[in-house]
């Protein structure tokens, strides 16, 4: 009886100290700051125009989770700058709010780039992780 209790107690302590890494981590925007909300709203508002420029081959998705101008265009250049600034606000918020540290930016950018490649439409320019550009 004594050993059963001891074993149960030890098992309970072990279970309580199990690392949370066994579960899938979630990285969310935990706090919707005005900056993040503005960035998301602005991105939503320009989404249609961005898709149009992508369809014309003016803008592509690079492997850093940012858009890049592929054909010289003043409109495309301005839009890309605004879009990238908003994306960086979102990436930085994810890093800061989830404690991803100094190395977090590269990882966040790489993952967002992967999602953009997955979501790209046929004919859109995308940059592969190797750095090579291709049309999806």
């Amino acid at each position: 009886m004594k050993y059963k209790f001891l074993a149960a107690f030890t098992l309970m302590i072990c279970m309580m100290s199990m690392p949370f890494s066994l579960q899938a981590e979630t990285y969310d925007i935990k706090e919707m700051t005005p900056e993040v909300k503005n960035a998301l709203d602005a991105r939503t508002a320009r989404f249609g125009e961005l898709q149009s420029l992508k369809a014309q081959g003016i803008i592509g998705e690079n492997n850093g989770g940012l858009v890049e101008v592929r054909k010289s265009s003043p409109v495309g250049s301005g839009l890309a700058q605004e879009e990238n600034a908003d994306r960086m606000v979102i990436y930085q918020a994810i890093i800061n709010q989830n404690g991803l540290g100094l190395n977090g930016l590269g990882k966040v950018q790489a993952v967002f780039a992967e999602v953009q490649r997955d979501k790209a439409r046929s004919g859109d320019f995308i940059q592969l992780p190797s750095g090579q550009w291709t049309q999806k």
Partner: protein
């Protein structure tokens, strides 16, 4: 008795252990701690954000 203690003992070994270091106290050891990012969890978040931005237009 053994069977009651075997599983907790194995779990204890799996859960972790204390690492003790010895050395010159005047030369502290620097340990670079890297945050391990769960790519799968991050990808789910990224997908949700991009879905929200596109508003289902893609």
């Amino acid at each position: 008795m053994k069977k009651y203690l075997l599983i907790p003992a194995m779990l204890t070994l799996l859960v972790g252990c204390t690492v003790k270091t010895v050395g010159d106290p005047n030369r502290p050891i620097t340990i670079n701690a890297n945050v391990i990012v769960d790519i799968r969890g991050l990808k789910n978040t990224a997908t949700s954000i991009e879905d929200m931005v596109s508003g289902g237009q893609r």
